[in-house]
């Protein structure tokens, strides 16, 4: 049985212009110890989906569907059980380490409070564990760091600390929501490698949310591509990079700058904008921007299905086949 199963999850946010479909009936699953990459442009609902798993949606948001985690439906779980689950079995690393750590509490406090909340450890054992965790995420002189405040650390350091907090109770699932977007490029690879290494070592499941296909290549076992609140393509990472079927995935990959192109060449950006999520949508959500779209695409909604392989799903009437694959 998978560790996490997202079944028909939809999230609607009330706005003055009407209800906004942030997540539009998504199904996903993740086995223990595996990594799932969720990729999509900003506003595609990937963060809202992760917040739905964590049950940290805005109070006014309407959530339907089921989020089965370790045999329990998180959507229907009572608040106290949910609280005990979060931080212990279910951990998260947010995008911006400049805002995700409390500026007025020491790093030691922020680490130890999580440990002491969930594990039966006294203050000195919790402190020893905190030092161990900071060392594990590559922080030099971890003992001195405990007494420091977040503003005394660099962005990369802070993200390492946030990761140490997430790992502190050996979670079964770690959700990393754009963990490197706010960091310097030189730090990004280090943080991603750290996450991958700890994931292997602790045998935890991980969801990496990103807008960058390059981040999940080689790091995720499976990739789900989201567009306008829907999953539009889902496949094991090597299969996806070998033959992507959904035109949106292709466009997303084409938009990544490459080294070998000549200077001053405009990037093949995806023209147009995602559909207005407050309006009802007929047909394929990507059709208005898709160069392969036909009249059929604008009238009927393509279902998520696999044709060639059962584990490579895509929602497209005119899937593309790439002859030569791209190394993952």
């Amino acid at each position: 049985m998978p560790l996490l199963t997202i079944e028909d999850v939809a999230v609607e946010l009330p706005t003055p212009r009407g209800n906004l479909r942030a997540v539009d009936h998504v199904d996903l699953s993740l086995e223990a110890g595996r990594t799932l990459g969720i990729v999509g442009e900003s506003g595609c609902g990937k963060t809202m989906l992760s917040r739905a798993v964590l049950q940290l949606l805005p109070r006014k948001a309407k959530l339907t569907g089921r989020v089965m985690f370790d045999g329990q439906d998180l959507v229907r779980l009572d608040r106290e059980s949910l609280r005990q689950l979060r931080g212990r079995d279910l951990a998260v690393v947010f995008q911006d380490p400049m805002t995700s750590l409390n500026p007025v509490l020491t790093i030691g406090t922020q680490l130890m409070e999580t440990i002491q909340e969930h594990l039966e450890l006294d203050a000195s054992a919790a402190k020893a564990r905190s030092i161990e965790l900071l060392a594990a995420v590559g922080i030099p002189a971890p003992e001195q760091r405990l007494a420091q405040y977040p503003h005394q650390c660099s962005g990369g350091m802070r993200q390492r600390i946030a990761i140490a907090i997430a790992l502190s109770c050996e979670p079964k699932l770690l959700i990393a929501d754009e963990p490197t977007t706010a960091l310097d490029v030189t730090i990004q690879a280090q943080i991603l490698d750290l996450l991958a290494r700890e994931q292997q070592r602790r045998h935890m499941a991980m969801i990496i949310i990103t807008h960058d296909l390059g981040v999940v290549a080689g790091r995720a076992d499976e990739v789900a591509v989201m567009y306008a609140g829907r999953v539009v393509e889902r496949a094991p990472t090597p299969a996806l990079f070998k033959r992507m079927h959904m035109p949106y995935t292709e466009a997303l990959l084409a938009a990544i700058p490459k080294l070998e192109i000549t200077p001053h060449t405009p990037l093949p950006a995806i023209s147009g904008r995602p559909p207005d999520p407050t309006r009802p949508l007929q047909g394929c959500s990507f059709a208005p921007r898709c160069r392969y779209a036909t009249g059929h695409c604008r009238e009927a909604k393509p279902g998520l299905k696999g044709a060639e392989r059962p584990d490579h799903l895509y929602a497209c009437f005119h899937p593309i086949r790439m002859a030569e694959g791209i190394g993952a």
Binding site: L54, L56, R83, Q84, L85, R86, G87, R88, L90, A91, V92, F94, D96, T99, S100, L101, N102, P103, V104, L105, E113, T114, E117, H118, Y149, H151, Q152, A162, I165
Partner: protein, 316 residues
Amino acid sequence: MLNFVVRRLLAILPVLLAVSLLTFLIASLLPGDLAFVILGDQATPENVAALRRDMGLDQPLWWRYLSWLGHVLQGDLGRSFRTGQTVLQAVAERIPVSLQLMLMAEFIGLLIGVPVAIACAARAGGAFDRFMTGSAFAMLSMPSFLMAILLIYLFAVELHWLPATGYVPFTEEPLANLRFFVLPALTLALAEWPGIMRVLRSDMIATLQEDYIALAKAKGLKPSRILFVHALKPSSLTLVTVTGINIGRLLGGTLIVESIFALPGIGRLLVGAIYTRDLVILQGVVLLVACGFVIVNFIVDMLYAVLDPRIRHGHA
């Protein structure tokens, strides 16, 4: 940190100097000649001229200011020409009353304001929040003399629980002293808590939107720890400012409340000095109260640094 303290201390010196100059000018520029006031019906031109010479009133204004400042710096604020008491004696006699009133009023105000603000922010927009925000607004618009009269009517006249007016020193009869202070402190506190509640509530609501609060929830912390440890401390800077201003203001006594409840505090000393044109007392008390205000604000600055490590380390 030491650097920070020294910098702030140096910054308040010019403020204190300006305060002394303004205090002196206000007292000196009041219409009417002090010598006439003191001499009353014995104010013959010769007597007036002699007294003016004795008091240095015939000297130019700047000279009088410098010589007054010189005395002040040596701890001599002057002596009332009516009672013969020095300013320091008069203030020392009255300050315990005003100080106790201020402390009790702030304590009660915070005791009501802080929990209400936290409860409102935790469920912003809910029924409790809307009710309390409305009540706070109503309280804020009620003048203190009306509140005082209502409280006296309810607790002293109707219920006979508390005395309406009077005072005994705490050192003589502690319990009776506290009973005398309850109504005046409550009158002030009921005017203080709406302000406390409103600033803390809006700061808390803003803080609760922060990423680090979402992370605290994701860490599975108890709601009480999230509210009191993660949200309250970063939200309390404006609260500290408002409390500091309130304390500074109440330090100078409260003319209306002290008069209604017959408490012999700084406020009544000032009123008395104004009625009797006792300019030396007036000038001295205003100077001391203003200095107290400046010092309280200095302490508030220090508290910022305690609350927010970024200020302490010069990052903000």
